[in-house]
C-alpha cells in the first residue's frame, strides 16, 4: 500500500543544501522517508509526505533544516483557538503511534 499522504503543497519544511554536510541524520529520524542521501547531500524526495513533526530539524546539528513543527490535530487547534493559545492537544491517545 502506498504511504498515505495528506494535503499537497502546505508543509513548511525547508532544506538548505549549502549548510548540509550529508551526515544522514535527517534520513534516520524521519518517519516518512522524506529525505534521501545523494552525492553527499540530503535531498527531499516528496515534500508532501512530511507531517511537520520536527524531528529532522531538531536532530540536524548543522541547522540545515527549518520546519514549523507541531501536531496536526484538529482538536488541538480548536483548543488553541478557544483558549487563545498555540495549538495544544491533551494527548490521550491509546496507541504508541498516535496522539490527541
Amino acid at each position: 500500500m502506498k504511504t498515505m499522504q495528506y494535503l499537497k503543497n502546505v508543509v513548511t519544511l525547508k532544506l538548505d543544501s549549502n549548510s548540509c554536510t550529508g551526515c544522514g541524520m535527517c534520513a534516520v529520524v524521519c518517519p516518512h522517508a522524506v529525505f534521501e542521501m545523494l552525492n553527499g547531500k540530503a535531498h527531499i524526495v516528496d515534500i508532501n509526505d512530511c507531517m511537520e513533526c520536527g524531528a529532522c530539524a531538531l536532530n540536524c546539528r548543522f541547522d540545515a533544516i527549518k520546519v514549523k513543527s507541531g501536531v496536526g490535530c484538529a482538536a488541538g487547534i480548536l483548543n488553541g483557538i478557544l483558549n487563545g493559545t498555540e495549538p495544544s492537544c491533551d494527548c490521550s491517545g491509546g496507541s504508541k503511534t498516535s496522539c490527541c
Binding site: 502506498k2 541524520m25 522517508a33 513533526c53 531538531l58 496536526g72 484538529a74 494527548c91 498516535s98
Partner: protein, 341 residues
C-alpha cells in the same frame, strides 16, 4: 515487578534495579483494555528509573522508554530473551510519540534520567537506544554533549527492536517508517468514541425534545412517534465519522479528512432515507446535520492519524469549520421548520 531502589551509591556489580519479565500477564492485558476506554488511565504510569530485563550486565544495551504503561509493556514483551536495561523516562504517562511532540520526552528529560539513574556507573559502554519517534523531542547530539552517551535511534516500532540490535544497530528503511494500518486505526476507535460522548448525548436529547414540536405547540405523542429517525441519523453520523471513516481511511479518495467524513455522512443519509421512507424535507435536514457531524468527527481523527501536518490541518479547518457550522445550522432550521408546518 520489584520495588525500585536508589542505585546512586551502589557499585555496578551490586546494582539491584527492578527486574521486569518479558512476558505479559492477564492483568497487564486487562489494564491495556481499560486504558483504551479511558478507565482509570492515571494508574497506567510506570515509575521512572532503570529497570532490568533478563540479566543485564555492564556491557548490556540500554533502551530508553516512555513511562506510559502500554508502551513499556509492548517494549518488554518484544525483548523476549534479550538481557537489557530499560531506562524509563518520566513522560507523564504519555506515549513516546505524543510526549516527544509536547516536549515531555525531550532532550532535557533524557539527560536528567541518565544522570538520575547513575547510568555511567552501571554500564561501561556509552550508548543508549532511543525510540525513533522520540526524535521530534530529543536531539541526539545534545544528549551526547551533555552526558557523554551517544544516542542512537532505534526502529519506530518496538517489535523490530530485537532485529535492530541483532543487525548491529541497523534499521531497515521499513523499520524507520511510521505506518498506519487498519489494525492501528481500529485500536483508536474506542478512544475517539468516548471523546465526545457527552456532547453526543446532549444533541440526542435536544433532537428527542425538538421532535415533539408542532404548530399547535408541543405534542408528547409526536415526540415519541417521530424521534426515532433523527436519533438514528445522529448516532449513525457520529459512528460513521469515528468508525467508518478511520477504517476506510486510504480508500476514500479525498485528502481532506473533513471531506472523507462528508462522504460517509452522505452515504448514511441516503441509506436511512430509503430505509425509513421519510418526507424529503426530513431527508434533507437530517442530511445536512449528518454531514456536519460526520465531517467534524472525521476531521478530529487528524489528531490520531500519523501523517497529517499542522499546516495542512489548519488549512483544512479554514474552510471545513465554517461549512460544518453552516450545515448544522441550516439543518436545524429546516428540521424545526418541518415540525411547525
Amino acid at each position: 515487578m520489584g520495588t525500585q531502589i536508589n542505585v546512586q551509591s551502589l557499585r555496578p556489580v551490586t546494582v539491584t534495579a527492578p527486574t521486569v519479565s518479558s512476558k505479559l500477564e492477564l492483568s497487564d492485558l486487562l489494564g491495556a483494555l481499560k486504558v483504551r476506554f479511558g478507565i482509570n488511565r492515571n494508574n497506567y504510569i510506570v515509575k521512572p528509573g532503570l529497570y532490568k530485563v533478563g540479566k543485564p550486565d555492564s556491557q548490556s544495551d540500554v533502551l530508553v522508554s516512555a513511562n506510559y504503561k502500554l508502551s513499556f509493556d509492548v517494549l518488554r514483551k518484544k525483548l523476549d530473551t534479550l538481557n537489557v536495561w530499560i531506562l524509563v523516562v518520566d513522560t507523564k504517562g504519555v506515549n513516546v510519540w505524543c510526549a516527544a511532540g509536547k516536549g515531555n520526552f525531550g532532550t532535557e528529560n533524557v539527560v536528567k534520567s541518565i544522570k538520575n539513574s547513575s547510568l555511567e556507573y552501571i554500564v561501561k559502554h556509552r550508548n543508549i537506544i532511543l525510540p525513533q519517534l522520540s526524535a521530534s523531542g530529543v536531539a541526539a547530539h545534545k544528549v551526547k554533549e551533555q552526558t557523554g552517551f551517544r544516542a542512537v535511534f532505534g526502529p519506530v516500532q518496538a517489535k523490530d527492536i530485537k532485529s535492530f540490535i541483532e543487525a548491529g544497530y541497523k534499521a531497515t528503511p521499513e523499520m524507520r517508517k511510521i505506518s498506519f494500518p487498519a489494525i492501528e486505526r481500529a485500536k483508536l476507535i474506542p478512544v475517539d468514541f468516548m471523546y465526545a460522548k457527552y456532547k453526543l448525548l446532549l444533541i440526542l436529547c435536544g433532537f428527542f425534545i425538538f421532535s415533539g414540536l408542532d404548530k399547535t405547540g408541543f405534542l408528547f405523542a409526536k415526540m415519541l412517534e417521530t424521534s426515532l429517525y433523527p436519533l438514528i441519523n445522529i448516532t449513525g453520523a457520529y459512528v460513521a465519522g469515528i468508525v467508518a471513516a478511520p477504517l476506510f481511511l486510504p480508500w476514500i479518495p479525498f485528502r481532506a479528512f473533513a471531506l472523507k467524513g462528508t462522504f460517509w455522512g452522505l452515504v448514511l443519509t441516503i441509506l436511512l432515507y430509503f430505509l425509513f421512507e421519510v418526507p424529503y424535507i426530513d431527508g434533507i435536514s437530517m442530511g445536512l446535520i449528518n454531514i456536519s457531524i460526520a465531517s467534524f468527527m472525521t476531521m478530529n481523527f487528524t489528531g490520531s492519524s500519523t501523517y497529517t501536518s499542522l499546516s495542512g490541518v489548519k488549512k483544512e479547518m479554514k474552510w471545513a469549520v465554517p461549512f460544518q457550522i453552516g450545515f448544522i445550522t441550516l439543518g436545524l432550521i429546516l428540521f424545526i421548520y418541518s415540525k411547525l408546518v
